[in-house]
Subunit: 437 residues, 2 copies
């Protein structure tokens, strides 16, 4: 059984053998077993431990334990201390969610900076089952029932096929030591309820519950994949189209579907919408009518439902330094130093004479009173408001129009029209290509 375990992990992780691995360790039994296994199999691992400072001395003892384990096994170890409570309060998140964000942010930063190829976590089959039951109990959709993936980008979870029972067995067989898992009290309460009161009864009904659960997850993941194919087809048919700040749905086409709500749920659930009747009613509402989620807005335009991000005041002016190669929020804009030939300017790619720019540039939504000199208009000045009207922009599209500026001068109405003043001329020495992602 133990041999089987190690063989499985070895086979599973064979694609990681020549990789640098960062192993997330709490000091609990699961992550200690994973550490020991990877160590025994000779993988190239370093440990990463978060001290969330949520349980005073206990948290520090966890940290000490991990440091000692790293020393015993002669492994590199990283430890980071977080003021989780403050972060949770500041960002209005639950302690659990705050810890999750802090943890994964730090792992990813570490992995990036120190060139780790993969991040390993010690989730196992019972974790997966408990998550399924928590989501189910709270009410969910298909996405909430498909479980944690074994491999998801850089994240790899080698213990996912194995039960808690088996991991405990392995730990005891190998005389491993561990600390009690630190986890958020409220989830702990729920997880404990499920672990001790619910799952044993289900296992009584079906002793091979975990195996059946694996089958169920596979089947449900298959259903998700078929749905994804359907959605991809809708993109191909142009029924849903990406926009610079979200997407738009063809009202005419959506109305043809048998189960309209199902599609709206599929498209919009991830954006925090919950009032599905309101969302559905939007299809027949007056143009301009809107429904909001916490961070997103859905507007009924004439022919489309338009999804766009609500823009905070704080980030409505973005500063771009000369070394920035990429701006991510809310628009993805890329900057390339382009030495030689330029291709034709399009709505999404412009070329400018870099020496004419005053860095830092700014990116902001347009304002009443903005003027620019549209490229190809013989240097004539035009009001941005007039330009947008001529372009037949909808109310929402207008609101979401961004301008890239050098000082007060507009370089580019992003995704639409460049300004004449910054264009590349015969004398241009340094061409900058700016591209909407």
């Amino acid at each position: 059984m133990i041999g089987n375990f190690e063989t499985h992990i070895n086979a599973k992780l064979s694609f990681l053998k020549n990789s640098k691995l960062l192993l997330a360790i709490s000091g609990g039994i699961d992550s200690v077993v994973l550490t020991y296994l990877c160590y025994k199999l000779g993988f190239n691992i370093a440990l990463a431990h978060c001290n969330f400072n949520l349980r005073g001395k206990e948290s520090d003892a966890d940290e000490d334990f991990v440091l000692q384990l790293a020393e015993d096994l002669d492994l590199e170890v990283f430890v980071e201390s977080f003021d989780t409570t403050t972060f949770a309060q500041d960002s209005k998140l639950s302690i659990q969610m705050a810890a999750r964000i802090l943890r994964y942010d730090w792992f990813e930063t570490l992995a990036k900076q120190l060139k780790y190829d993969y991040i390993l976590t010690a989730h196992h089959a019972d974790d997966n089952l408990e998550t399924f039951l928590i989501n189910f109990t709270r009410g969910t959709g298909l996405d909430g029932l498909t479980g944690i993936p074994e491999i998801n980008g850089k994240l790899v979870r080698p213990l996912l096929p194995f039960s808690r029972e088996f991991i405990e067995f392995y730990a005891k067989e190998n005389h491993l030591k561990w600390r009690d898992d630190s986890s958020n009290a409220s989830t702990k309460y729920m997880r404990n309820k499920l672990r001790h009161d619910v799952i044993p009864v289900l296992k009584e009904i079906n002793p091979s519950l975990l195996q059946s659960f694996q089958t169920t997850l596979n089947n449900l993941q298959g259903s998700c994949d078929i749905i994804d194919d359907r959605i991809e087809a809708l993109f191909k048919e142009g029924i849903i189209k990406l926009t610079p700040t979200g997407f738009k749905l063809s009202i005419f086409e959506i109305k043809k579907f048998h189960n309209i709500k199902a599609y709206l749920y599929r498209f919009l659930n991830a954006y925090g919408f919950t009032e599905w009747d309101d969302v559905t009613n939007l299809l027949n509402a007056q143009p301009g009518k809107q429904v909001f989620s916490k961070h997103w807005r859905l507007v009924k335009d004439r022919d489309y439902l338009l999804l766009s991000e609500l823009v905070d005041d704080e980030r409505s002016i973005i500063t771009i330094s000369e070394t920035d190669k990429q701006v991510e929020t809310p628009l993805g804009i890329l900057f390339f130093d382009e030495a030689d030939a330029i291709l034709e300017t399009s709505k999404t790619i412009v070329y400018v004479d870099k020496t004419t720019l005053n860095f830092p540039l700014t990116l902001r939504t347009w304002e009443e009173g903005d003027v620019f000199f549209p490229l190809g208009m013989d240097g004539k000045k035009k009001k941005v408001s007039k330009y947008l009207k001529d372009e037949k922009q909808s109310l929402l599209e207008k609101e979401q129009t961004w301008v890239l500026c050098s000082g007060k001068a507009i370089i580019w109405i992003v995704g639409m029209r460049a300004d004449n003043r910054f264009k590349v001329s015969e004398n241009t020495k340094h061409i900058l290509r700016i591209e909407l992602k």
Copy 2:
């Protein structure tokens, strides 16, 4: 609360107000509450009770109880007695499945014969939740998690949005009497476990569990609907095509999918296939290679996977009398007495001179040695084997070719070619149209 209940049922059932309703009653609390409600609301109901004879005197007491209730409320009542144990043994089914088949068959026969528009059953929200958890515990796919529908053809389940707790409350408020529900012991064990040990814990975690569950079911049903749209599109694109005895899947197209197994599961799960690796491997197997389920066979043909029903020897010769208008198994063939004009003969519709036929006709699969006189071949005789070869029929298609005969003479190679000897001539008085459904 009670008022709300009755209002809801009244509104839900408004489309049934002028209908004849058959109410399935066990004598248990749920069906008694439904009976009382329908009675109180003045619906046009009759009761139907199955005595499965599984619990001796208790079963008879249930029957007596239902008869008494019908008398008290002055309702028509039907009672049928079943030898469930024998039927289960003969048909190799579990007692539970046997009872289910007997019950629904009888309800449907009754409804058809006596022209009842709908059949009402008393399933409620907890039944639905228990079924979900049973399926989940055993291992399932999306279909096993979408619950019982409130309306499904003739079947209507008005209590589905309501909890057991609420139904009990209503029964007590109205001083109703009922008998303990009779149900199969093995499910009863599972259901009781879930009812008493699992669901209360889930309700502790989320007091509005049943409401959340309703949301989950809606969402999952939505996912099913999106998948159905995808499958419909595959039919439109010809990637899957119906055949007279099943369907066929284009191997070339299926291989393009990201998650091939998910599609094979979706197409074939309902036909009892379980060995998904074998099924998937068929895509790359030698032509002629097969995978079997209990009643179905999947064959790798050159370009297609072909699904077909396994034909029992017993039904391989079907006798058709002059009055039969329809033959259902394994092919659907319709017979129409056609007095006047005939349309063009096609592969699926033939017209014959009825007076040339010797009834009863027979329908059987073709045999080595069969000959016929293909229509339009100037009365030349041809071996059926040669004809099928010329038509480039695959091995499987050949096996599934049926012939309709008058005595020993072939009238029609079903779905392919008519015989010259039975054709309609100028002298034909009575034309029979024969059509493949």
